[in-house]
């Protein structure tokens, strides 16, 4: 990819993917691993944090008045076919990885809803994908990582050598150091096509029921849910589930694609306009969009072949789609509640629907077991994620109320998406926070690593 080589150090205003909140920092762009290794040296008083592709929605990858280290300038990917592992620099994007891996018959262990995230960001948020119920989150596929810590050392960390530090870094939001490199397993695939089953569910109970009874039959599963549908249609959804097609299946179903079973060329078809008139997104336009989308989905369709891009990254088709929310931006709210708390999920969906706040499709997914990371987000149960324009009246108090419901049900919100949580709920949502803090302090006794997210929530 052609890129303008950036100034080595520049003062810039940064935001997350939601374009809010904003703050300014000195951004450093190390271009070699040597420069990267020095990026924590002589830290400013307001500290340092790493930044990948800035796809966290809130303020995790920014550090007001301090230093931000852009990791994307150092790229290195090494594949060990025999071991089925890949070693990549922390700033490597999943987009680059897939372009290299897919034609060679491998896939990333976990992919979020966008491929424009880095390996370091995937570790720091311990990201999950549609296959969480089968393989867990990203860090469960990581065998080792190299972690630059404030002392200037680069530590080789594995779940065996230093489990505390490994799992504190998994979901640790960049606050244990800068991941300069990681080795992770990458599953083999026979084709680059996903065999997809789609079901339209009339309401929330129907989609939950379908997920509880059938998710185990699929490697990947996610439901899109319309929070603007009210009454009998509340929670109406489209559930899409699938797995990678095998070669023989491609021959049977694939037609034109079958002679290049591992072809992969994701394209960006559209770009959002640079400026969007305020008020473009309103209740009517979003309701109409959701309606169209629901009607378009088949009531039931099996064995449809979809490309990786279409199945995993439909949003990536439009570059800069976050701009449609205008300059005031938007936020994403994502929580998980345990299986037993399905009533809380219903109440939350009810409250959101009732509030009438403008929201495009929300994503519903059932997680499998969580892992040892004290700040890792996934936990067994239901997770729901939705985007809302930040300036919606009454949004803050509404989400505060819902956060309390989530916390009381034993659930939590996802820090990679957060931009407004009440810090007093943090401990209840992440009960192992103190354990995490102990490890964090071990590698960062002087509090060099910090971010706006950390200042806002008091993580460290």
């Amino acid at each position: 990819m052609a890129s303008i080589s950036p100034e080595p150090v520049a003062h810039r205003v940064l935001t997350g993917w939601g374009n809010t909140p904003r703050s300014s920092a000195t951004v450093m762009h190390p271009a070699t691993s040597g420069e990267m290794a020095a990026s924590l040296a002589d830290p400013p008083t307001r500290g340092v944090v790493a930044r990948g592709l800035g796809r966290s929605y809130g303020d995790a990858a920014q550090n007001a008045g301090g230093r931000v280290v852009d990791t994307t300038g150092v790229g290195r990917v090494e594949i060990d076919d025999a071991a089925g592992t890949v070693t990549a620099s922390g700033g490597t994007s999943l987009d680059d990885l897939m372009r290299i891996l897919v034609p060679r018959g491998r896939f990333v262990p976990v992919t979020p809803g966008t491929r424009f995230v880095t390996v370091g960001g995937a570790i720091a948020a311990d990201i999950h994908g549609k296959n969480h119920h089968k393989v867990g989150s990203w860090c469960e596929s990581v065998q080792s990582m190299r972690l630059l810590v404030p002392s200037g050392e680069i530590l080789e960390v594995t779940p065996q050598s230093d489990p505390d530090l490994f799992w504190a870094t998994a979901g640790g939001m960049g606050l244990t150091g800068i991941v300069t490199e990681a080795t992770f397993t990458c599953p083999a695939i026979e084709t680059s096509q996903v065999l997809v089953d789609t079901v339209r569910a009339a309401d929330l109970d129907a989609v939950m029921d379908a997920m509880v009874t059938g998710d185990h039959l699929y490697d990947y599963s996610v439901a899109w849910i319309d929070l603007m549908a009210t009454g009998m249609s509340m929670g109406r959804s489209v559930l899409t589930r699938g797995r990678f097609a095998r070669l023989d299946e491609l021959d049977e179903l694939g037609g034109a694609t079958s002679d290049r079973p591992l072809a992969y060329n994701p394209t960006v078809r559209l770009a959002a306009p640079p400026w969007v008139p305020p008020g473009l997104l309103n209740k009517l336009s979003v309701r109409a969009f959701n309606e169209l989308w629901f009607r378009r989905a088949p009531e039931h369709r099996s064995d449809e072949l979809q490309s990786i891009a279409a199945f995993f990254h439909p949003l990536d088709l439009m570059r800069g789609w976050n701009r449609i929310y205008g300059s005031r931006g938007f936020l994403q709210w994502q929580f998980v509640v345990p299986d037993e708390a399905h009533d809380t999920l219903r109440s939350v969906v009810g409250a959101l629907t009732e509030s009438g706040c403008t929201s495009f499709l929300a994503v519903l997914k059932r997680f499998g077991p969580g892992n040892a990371g004290p700040l890792s987000f996934p936990a067994p149960g239901w997770t729901l994620a939705l985007d809302i324009p930040a300036a919606v009246a009454g949004l803050g108090p509404l989400l505060d109320r819902l956060d309390v419901m989530v916390a009381d049900a034993g659930g939590r919100v996802y820090l990679a998406k957060d931009s407004r949580l009440d810090p007093t709920l943090l401990h209840q949502m992440y009960p192992r926070l103190d354990q995490w803090r102990q490890t964090q302090r071990r590698v960062d006794p002087d509090g060099v690593l910090t971010s706006d997210l950390n200042r806002r929530l008091g993580l460290t």
Binding site: P21, R22, S23, A25, A64, S327, R420, D452
Partner: protein, 255 residues
Amino acid sequence: MNDATGIPQTALVLGGTSEIAIATMTRLAARRCRHIVLACRDTQGGAVAAAHSLRTAGATQVDIIDFDAADATTHAATIDAATELLGDIDMVLMAFGVLGNQADFDADPMAAVAAVNVNYTAAVSCGLLTAQVLRRQGHGTVVMLSSVAAERARADNFVYGSSKAGLDAFSQGLSDSLVAAGAHVLVVRPGFVHTRMTAGMKPAPFSTTADDVADRIVRGLETGAHVVWAPSVLRWVFTVMRHLPRGVWRKVSAR
């Protein structure tokens, strides 16, 4: 830090006993603004009661510090004291101001100079000191209480009006100068508000309350507005007023 909905976690109020400021901070305290510093010329009485009510509204800590708008040589110490207490200052609300009386100003120009010194000069010195803090910390919001009087000077209060016009222009420039620092300025233009400042005066058309102004300010923070009017209709009223022929303006603005 300000959150994605525009609400600060810490705030400094310059003119901490202002009724508009207290109504605003009461709302923000209920929205989890946890630590508030009230900077006042009288740190007893009204300030103590205000601090108490803000704690009741939800703030975990409210401190009161000395602040005299009339003495610019003390402003740096006030801002330093606030920084010391708050750490990062997410929001600075500048609510000090004196209305005065045009007849008194006509009789005693030095009284006018003193009022302008509070309304405008202090806004300049505190505004620039605040800007230094926000640039250093790389984020934050300034809320500036201007007035519709800044839009067009009136024969019966042009000293006040011109001081607010100065503040208003200053605030807009400050706003642009802080963009690169990731900081934001909200200019508030209320009309006639029923507070101590206007007690005993005949209300102007579209008069409003401190609570209403406070609601407009909070909404302005949520929407990321650069200017809010209170009540909002005044934006349109003054779009017209600004362009009235002088003679007509003299008549409609006369009280």
